[in-house]
């Protein structure tokens, strides 16, 4: 049995008979369609009497011959005719793709959309912050309704489980700072100032900043993805109808946990960075640990620690808020969850760094050098 659909052309004075044989199906359609395109005859008769199996794609080809070339069809059995009729009935001007606007319009539209989007996000975040404060107010008035359990669970996820990675990262950063600093300071014979460099940068900036970046990547993204998929699953809507405020049940526990965990993690990170630097100083610069710790106590003012402890909760709030806000903005499909998660992390880190710059200027102005 032949499975190749093939056709024999009988050309007689300008008219042409296409006698198909074998299976007229999707399997061989590519070649056949090209061959039919190349056909130049005008008066075509299609003979289907030798066709063993025909599917809708075969029927579509036959229908196209009928439609475009005015071909006559002979030898079709009942099922084949039915199939051709069915396909012919489905031959409607179906739109396959959207109309694409011209490039210039598209670029202008995109810039406009970005700008609007940016402003809308800013406005939305501000509104979200307000809604969160109102939610907090509620909780303060009805503390018993608050889900402390949810907060405690987040403590573990945001704080405890991040300890290892934050610690390791800070330790390594401490070593890097010490090593790079030592190389530069050695040129002035001021190697011992490596300790100042480590102590101050770790306590004032690096500890909290690196922690913020890590928390944004670990927890901010998780918040966005969690809330996003809950939103898709209509869980958030279900909550609302039951009378549970998503703000109180989902957002505030996460924000609160991050706000409370950030200073602890930031402090831990600073200590680990100092530890890393200390180990490097001891092994590589022959500064014994006792001397190192003594120097650290002398050169790092308490205000540096205060700065970190003031900045950390603010950073935590920004990160958690960006995550929750983006998560709750999800609608449509699963891809949106991914996009929003990315946006949450980028936005979180960006805002943290912008704020850090403000803090730096501010603290310098108030004299916390």
């Amino acid at each position: 049995m032949s499975v190749t659909p093939d056709f024999i052309q009988n050309v007689e004075d300008g008219s042409c008979v296409l006698r198909f044989s074998g299976n007229l199906t999707l399997l061989r359609i590519r070649k056949l369609s090209e061959q039919l395109e190349a056909l130049e005859a005008t008066d075509i008769t299609v003979d289907l009497s030798d066709v063993e199996r025909m599917d809708t794609v075969g029927a579509w080809l036959v229908h196209k011959l009928q439609r475009d070339r005015g071909a006559k069809v002979i030898g079709a059995n009942r099922e084949q005719q039915l199939l051709i009729d069915h396909v012919a009935a489905a031959d409607q001007p179906v739109k396959i793709a959207r109309d694409a606007p011209p490039a210039l319009v598209r670029v202008v539209t995109q810039v406009g959309e970005w700008t609007l989007n940016f402003l809308r996000t800013l406005y939305g975040m501000l509104g979200f912050f307000g809604a969160m404060l109102i939610g907090f107010g509620h909780i303060i008035r009805h503390p018993r309704r608050f889900r402390w359990n949810a907060v405690i669970t987040r403590f573990e996820v945001v704080g405890v489980q991040a300890l290892f990675i934050v610690g390791l990262m800070s330790f390594l950063v401490g070593i890097v700072i010490a090593q790079q600093g030592a190389v530069q300071l050695r040129q002035f014979g001021a190697e011992v100032y490596t300790i100042n460099l480590i102590g101050r940068s770790a306590v004032k900036e690096l500890g909290v900043l690196m922690t913020a970046i890590m928390v944004a990547g670990r927890s901010g993204s998780a918040f966005a993805a969690q809330l996003g998929s809950m939103k898709l699953n209509e869980e958030v809507d279900a909550m609302r109808t039951i009378g549970v405020s998503p703000m109180e049940a989902l957002v505030i526990p996460r924000v609160l946990a991050t706000v409370l965990m950030m200073p602890l993690l930031g402090f831990f990170a600073a200590m680990m960075a100092i530890l890393g630097g200390g180990v490097f100083c001891w092994l590589s610069l022959d500064i014994p640990p006792v001397t190192f710790i003594q120097r650290i106590r002398e050169v790092v003012p308490m205000t540096d620690l205060y700065q970190t402890l003031i900045k950390a909760p603010v950073f935590g709030m920004i990160i958690a808020m960006a995550g929750c806000y983006q998560g709750l903005q999800v609608k449509g499909n699963a891809e949106e969850v991914g996009l929003r998660t990315t946006t949450a992390v980028v936005q979180g880190i960006f805002l943290v760094i912008v704020l850090d710059a403000f803090f730096a200027v501010f603290f310098t102005e108030v004299g916390w050098l």
Binding site: T56, L82, H86, V94, K95, I96
Partner: protein, 269 residues
């Protein structure tokens, strides 16, 4: 064509499925004849979807044999079973359309996968008539699944399931969540497609109207196996408690009465 008995498209023998301690199927037997619409019914949790997943190879059964087109499906790897896969189409409950692709692109995915190299123009034509055939409006091709209603999503799912011109169609609760008019239209669509394309249909449903309107035979899942297969009158003659409750309950009676009052517009083959 293989040498097996051609009249059965699906054969399931001694199927056993379990999740942990919970036994879902035990010694399940089922045969689906060529060209029929087989309705599969059963209470919630009797493993209708699991049965379908076992047949199409998404779930590896603990024991038993599944033959589709006479070819064993259990333990076949994806690559080996590919030539069988292209002969069936599946409509999942929610449509399971790829959310990042438009409807037309969704329909083209299986064609591109199995028959690479077909030029885009022909692909677009194929997608266009499949979409029209599934009863979607003409502007649906460029839309994303999230822009469609539930009923339209199911139709788009059908269009994708039909992309490869399958001989066998699996439908998992196709009319669930549709309004009665939409559900009746959908029943009609399935019937039309079966007649026009010569499909065999494996249909999981809870919809009594669907059972009466379009199913040739009905398989009843209960007690971890298929307890009965047959036409509705044959099933009604059986003395099985669940079957009696199912068809003679208030909803079952209503559906039956409806059928008698309006002698089967569905039966115009």
């Amino acid at each position: 064509m293989s040498a097996h008995d051609n009249s059965h498209v699906i054969e399931v023998h001694g199927l056993r499925n379990s999740f942990g301690e919970q036994l879902i199927h035990d010694g399940l037997e089922l045969e689906v004849r060529r060209g029929e619409i087989l309705g599969v019914v059963g209470g919630s949790g009797t493993g209708k979807s699991v049965l379908m997943r076992s047949i199409i190879g998404l779930q590896t059964p603990d024991d038993g044999e599944v033959l589709v087109f006479g070819e064993p499906m259990v333990g076949r790897d994806e690559e080996e079973a590919k030539h069988v896969r292209r002969r069936w189409g599946v409509l999942f409950q929610g449509g399971a359309l790829f959310s990042t692709l438009t409807v037309a692109e969704n329909v083209q995915v299986p064609i591109k996968e199995f028959y690479p190299g077909i030029d885009q123009e022909l692909l677009d034509e194929i997608a266009a008539y499949k979409i029209a055939m599934s009863g979607l409006p003409v502007d649906a091709g460029g839309k994303y699944p999230s822009e469609l209603s539930g009923g339209m999503r199911k139709r788009a799912g059908i269009a994708r399931a039909l992309a490869l011109d399958p001989e066998l169609l699996f439908l998992d609760e196709p009319t669930a969540g549709l309004d009665p008019i939409g559900a009746a239209d959908f029943d009609q669509l399935i019937l039309e497609l079966r007649d026009a394309l010569g499909l065999t249909v494996f249909l999981i449903t809870h919809d009594l109207d669907t059972l009466y309107a379009i199913c040739d035979r009905i398989a009843v899942l209960a007690d971890k196996k298929v307890v009965a297969v047959g036409t509705i009158p044959e099933l009604l003659a059986l003395d099985h408690q669940w079957i009696q409750e199912y068809f003679k309950g208030p909803r079952g009676r209503a559906a039956a009465a409806h059928r008698e009052a309006e002698p089967t517009e569905g039966a115009t083959a």
